[in-house]
């Protein structure tokens, strides 16, 4: 690594170690633990942002090696987390959690499909964690709101399709309100009772744990029989509650655990109910 590369040299096309120098040791993040240096030098600002007076990067410099996602020993989820940070920083309004900040230069030149797929893979990884809560629990600490939004929209659309003709809009609105306001209220309730939960992490977890219910709602589009729907909804409700409890149980609620957990049950119950009767 060339530690003494000047800033000017970064940006000049003639700098031979351009790609390497982006992740030089001069930009160590004191908070990062075992992130390969090559991959995620978490400066607040990417190095390739041209300083005033510098000439900007030419986008035709595409033979740069694409370092995102392939280099380093960090897991796919971690790199997806960092890259999805880029997507979040790149203009999407939704917040993304405190993952490692990758450099934008690597994701600027990739095809759009790669960008979208990275986020989808991230969402998928979290859904897997919800469905089968083994492995790293930390994956849900890297919150994002794409997943909950996806769950909420799917649920709202499915349930409003099955509603009475003049009530479709009302049903859509109600499900939307129940999901977002419900997650927010359950989280604020836990915080008010003294629990130590982060607001967005909790909203993220509650949203992701809707996934079993979303699956059941899609199934119940085609299955009207209540004898199939009832056990399915029951199982989905139990699964969703158990998955979200697993994450939210480590906040210090002491004698008030039931008080903090009850709204969560109420939330999933009402959604399961609406799926059941749709």
């Amino acid at each position: 690594m060339n530690n003494s590369v000047e800033r000017d040299d970064f940006l000049s096309p003639a700098a031979p170690s351009y790609a390497e120098a982006t992740y030089s040791d001069t930009y160590d993040n004191p908070f990062e633990t075992n992130i390969p240096q090559r991959m995620n030098s978490p400066s607040i600002e990417p190095d390739d942002v041209p300083l005033p007076g510098q000439k900007p990067l030419s986008p035709t410099r595409s033979p740069l090696p694409k370092v995102s996602g392939n280099i380093g020993s960090s897991s796919n989820a971690a790199s997806s987390g960092s890259a999805s940070n880029n997507l979040g920083g790149g203009g999407a309004g939704l917040g993304v959690g405190q993952a490692m900040m990758g450099s934008a230069i690597d994701t600027l030149d990739e095809p759009v499909s790669e960008t979208l797929l990275r986020d989808l893979r991230n969402v998928g990884a979290k859904l897997q964690q919800v469905l089968y809560p083994k492995g790293r629990k930390d994956i849900l600490k890297d919150w994002d709101l794409w997943g909950p939004l996806l769950m909420c929209l799917t649920l709202s659309i499915v349930l409003s399709v099955k509603a009475q003709a003049d009530q479709k809009i009302t049903v859509f609105t109600w499900i939307f309100i129940i999901v977002w306001m419900g997650s927010a209220v359950v989280t604020v309730n836990a915080k008010l009772l003294g629990g130590r939960v982060s607001f967005f992490q909790s909203v993220c977890v509650i949203g992701y744990c809707l996934f079993p219910l979303v699956l059941v709602s899609i199934v119940s589009i085609v299955v009207p029989s209540i004898y199939i729907r009832l056990p399915l909804c029951g199982v989905a409700f139990a699964w969703a509650s158990w998955a979200s409890l697993g994450f939210l149980s480590d906040s210090n609620l002491a004698n008030r655990r039931a008080l903090g957990v009850y709204p969560l049950f109420l939330f999933y119950f009402i959604i399961a109910w609406m799926i059941l009767i749709s």
Partner: protein, 267 residues
């Protein structure tokens, strides 16, 4: 700076405690607790922490500057300072009105109960009324599809009754000099809604007479609960106004009961 309270809070030497007057540090019991635990020499102490009568202007100013802002979560956390057992106790006391509810609450009314009980009642009313409608449709062999209007109506009615009406009554009684406590009003009305949950569960049974009996019993129970606990507050106004407000409270409660019956349990 001669801020004795802060100095004694920071002071951790156990040999040389410069400020021996514990009257000033008694307003921050944790600070004097630290000092006393690390201080080996016996010190004269007031009878109880926080009960010393000395007024320390520095301490009160400091307390005011660290008061929680009204937009922070911590400001409202004090209204949620209840344990599970306390909430269950209060719910039971509201269904079976034996003691004075304000004694049961022990002077610390909470907002957890009112909010979550009213939310529960909203959802329970929706669920039960959709069950009733589906049973009715099944009996008539008609295809059933649920009516989300029940949820909207329940939401509007119950939240108005649980939050707007207590605020109105509080405003009215305050105007007439009854010195009411808003939190107690909210707690009374909120916990008074508890009885509707079992009533709703039982009223699924498709017999109209049974439903009437159940709903009137529920309405009477929560009405009595309300009136009994609001009576001391209302008494403090003049005779005419207190009677008028009492009639208003009872009247609104009767209206609620009838609305619940006719809107949700009428098929």
């Amino acid at each position: 700076m001669a801020n004795k309270g802060a100095y004694s809070a920071i002071e951790i030497d156990d040999d040389e405690l410069q400020f021996q007057s514990f009257e000033t540090s008694s307003s921050s019991p944790s600070a004097s607790g630290n000092i006393s635990s690390s201080n080996s020499t016996p010190q004269p102490r007031p009878a109880g922490f926080g009960t010393a009568g000395t007024f320390d202007p520095h301490r009160t100013i400091q307390d005011q500057t660290v008061a929680k802002p009204i937009w922070s979560i911590d400001y409202y956390a004090k209204f949620f300072d209840v344990d599970t057992t306390q909430v269950m106790e209060r719910c039971m006391a509201s269904i079976i009105p034996k003691d004075n509810f304000l004694n049961v609450m022990g002077g610390s009314p909470d907002l957890y109960g009112p909010f979550w009980i009213s939310t529960t009642v909203v959802f329970v009313l929706f669920v039960m009324s959709s069950i009733i409608d589906s049973i009715h449709a099944y009996m008539e062999s008609v295809p059933y599809s649920y009516d989300i209007g029940h949820l909207t109506f329940a939401f509007a009615t119950i939240y108005t009754y649980a939050f707007m009406i207590p605020a109105m009554i509080w405003g009215a009684t305050k105007y007439f000099g009854c010195q009411p406590d808003l939190l107690e009003m909210l707690a009374l009305y909120g916990y008074g809604l508890t009885v509707w949950v079992p009533v709703a569960f039982l009223s699924v049974a498709p017999w109209n007479l049974l439903r009437w009996i159940l709903i009137l019993a529920g309405g009477a129970s929560s009405g009595v609960f309300l009136v009994r606990n609001m009576y001391p507050v209302l008494q403090r106004a003049e005779a005419q106004t207190s009677k008028a407000i009492l009639i208003l409270v009872v009247g609104l409660h009767v209206i609620l009961t009838l609305i619940l019956k006719y809107k949700f349990f009428s098929l």
